[in-house]
């Protein structure tokens, strides 16, 4: 845990130092006179905003070596939040420049320079579109795959125009080495996108999978089993996830993140349980057996530590999926560490894997606590929504030291669980929490 904390701190420091260095690097070996504070401040923000935009490409390039102790959901959230910050800083650049000298308004006037004004208006519109479509994609009814395409195009347009702006203005970026540096970094950022969308799919194409089984599960869910075609399968850690493409080319935009539900002991057959929630997942049950599939993964840090003496899992709805993979792996490996599972779902009948979990609880050191929202007739256990008191009881029983807590489910459940566990003294490093709505 301490190793991961140090790693995270090092990555955060590298992120800040890289971005913060850009204005100073731009001013290096520069012999023009400085200007008034507000204008130079705006220039600093512009350089910083552009550098943040570059790094946005790295955050979504799915490199496993970037902050390996952090889950991909955390990196995606960082990407989302940093995108908003970068948007604000880049926007502040022209606002402050115009506030410093209103002659900068000419930059936006087509009569003063059509190409320049058009480029700047395009980049402003692209910035607004990329942020708006990301924050309100569902509300705007934008299909995920079209949003992915638009996101990549808009991001490329933004950094490209940003580079052209920096080069054309040329106040600081006036030497050959600076032009080469800014051009190279922009090309690198766009190249990362090419790596993600072209090179990685080419690799995936060499390791195809086929749909071996599609079976209905309770609660409008389906389990899809995949088997490797012509290769040895995939090694993953229980609790991780993969980006899955089914019935389409590996270059398809139809790529969705799903947690493995199967045991990590089986590389030759992996299973995903998918709830019917959107356009694509709503049709998952119609997937024909034999359809080609591609897996980009594994990713994620939602895993059970070897050092943990016991584990307490808290699952809500389809958030049971990665936890099921952890439990199946724990069972298949003959792991004797005690595990408790609090599993909340809409109804008892709608609980995926219930029978298997009950069997596991009979045969293994698993304490199973099912929490249906509505109690069925004859139900003697608890019912209703999860409460802080329930999580407090878990901490009282299973302790704060040597126990790892794994939480996966809808955001309200996760917030309540994490907040309560932390308030009851569970160290942050002993809690693994992963959201499944990362896109």
């Amino acid at each position: 845990m301490a190793r991961f904390a140090n790693q995270r701190a090092a990555w955060v420091a590298a992120y800040v130092v890289f971005i913060a260095a850009m204005p100073w690097l731009a001013a290096l070996d520069h012999d023009r006179r400085g200007r008034e504070f507000l204008l130079e401040f705006s220039v600093g923000l512009g350089f910083i905003g552009l550098a943040m935009m570059w790094l946005q490409f790295a955050l979504t390039a799915r490199f496993r070596w970037i902050a390996p102790g952090s889950g991909l959901d955390t990196l995606m959230q960082l990407h989302r939040q940093a995108g908003i910050s970068a948007f604000a800083l880049v926007l502040a650049h022209p606002v402050l420049a115009i506030a410093a000298d209103d002659r900068f308004l000419d930059f936006l006037d087509p009569r003063a320079g059509l190409a320049r004004a058009a480029a700047l208006w395009v980049v402003l519109a692209a910035l607004a579109a990329i942020v708006g479509s990301s924050l309100w994609r569902r509300a705007l009814g934008i299909r995920y795959e079209w949003w992915r395409l638009a996101h990549a195009v808009l991001a490329t347009v933004i950094v490209f125009i940003g580079l052209v702006h920096v080069l054309r203005v040329g106040f600081y970026i006036d030497d050959g080495w600076k032009r080469a540096t800014w051009s190279g970094l922009t090309a690198g950022a766009i190249g990362l996108l090419g790596y993600t969308r072209v090179v990685r799919p080419l690799r995936l194409a060499r390791r195809p999978w086929r749909v071996a089984e599609v079976r209905r599960e309770p609660g409008s869910s389906w389990t899809v089993a995949l088997e490797p075609v012509g290769h040895g399968g995939l090694r993953f850690e229980a609790g991780q996830f993969a980006w899955v493409t089914i019935g389409a080319s590996p270059f398809s935009l139809e790529q969705h993140p799903f947690s493995f539900a199967s045991s990590a002991e089986r590389r030759d057959r992996v299973e995903f349980t998918v709830k019917e929630l959107g356009d694509w997942t709503g049709r998952i049950g119609q997937t024909p057996v034999g359809a080609k599939a591609y897996l980009d993964g594994p990713y994620g840090a939602f895993t059970l530590d070897r050092q943990a003496g016991r584990a307490v899992c808290i699952a809500g709805g389809v958030g049971i999926t990665p936890i099921m993979s952890i439990l199946r792996t724990w069972r298949d490996r003959g792991d004797e560490r005690p595990v408790a599972l609090l599993y909340a779902a809409g109804s008892l009948e709608g609980m995926v894997y219930r029978e298997e979990l009950e069997e596991m609880a009979r045969e293994r050191p698993l304490e199973l606590m099912l929490l249906p929202r509505e109690a069925p007739p004859g139900w003697t256990g608890e019912a209703g929504l999860p409460t802080a008191a329930m999580f407090e009881r878990l901490v009282e029983r299973f302790g704060t030291r040597g126990t790892q807590y794994l939480v996966c489910g809808p955001p309200p459940l996760m917030e309540l669980a994490e907040r309560t566990l932390l308030a009851r003294g569970v160290p942050a490093g002993a809690i693994r929490a992963e959201r499944f709505d990362i896109v």
């Binding site: 012999d31 006179r33 130079e40 932390l422």
Partner: protein
């Protein structure tokens, strides 16, 4: 604090740091009343070149 809020807070803090860095850059590059730059280094080119304003570049 839940990990999502920690990440959000982290970005807010990082953004604030970067704004301060930009402000520091602005201060370092800006001129005082005498027309001289405040910061050290090879800046403030002693009037060799005029400050950049619209119309000076060809974009």
């Amino acid at each position: 604090m839940p990990h999502y809020q920690r990440t959000r807070l982290l970005v807010v803090v990082l953004t604030a740091v970067l704004v301060v860095v930009a402000a520091g850059f602005g201060w370092w590059r800006s001129e005082d009343d005498s027309g001289r730059g405040r910061g050290p280094g090879p800046r403030a080119g002693h009037g060799q070149m005029a400050p950049f304003l619209p119309g000076e570049e060809d974009g």
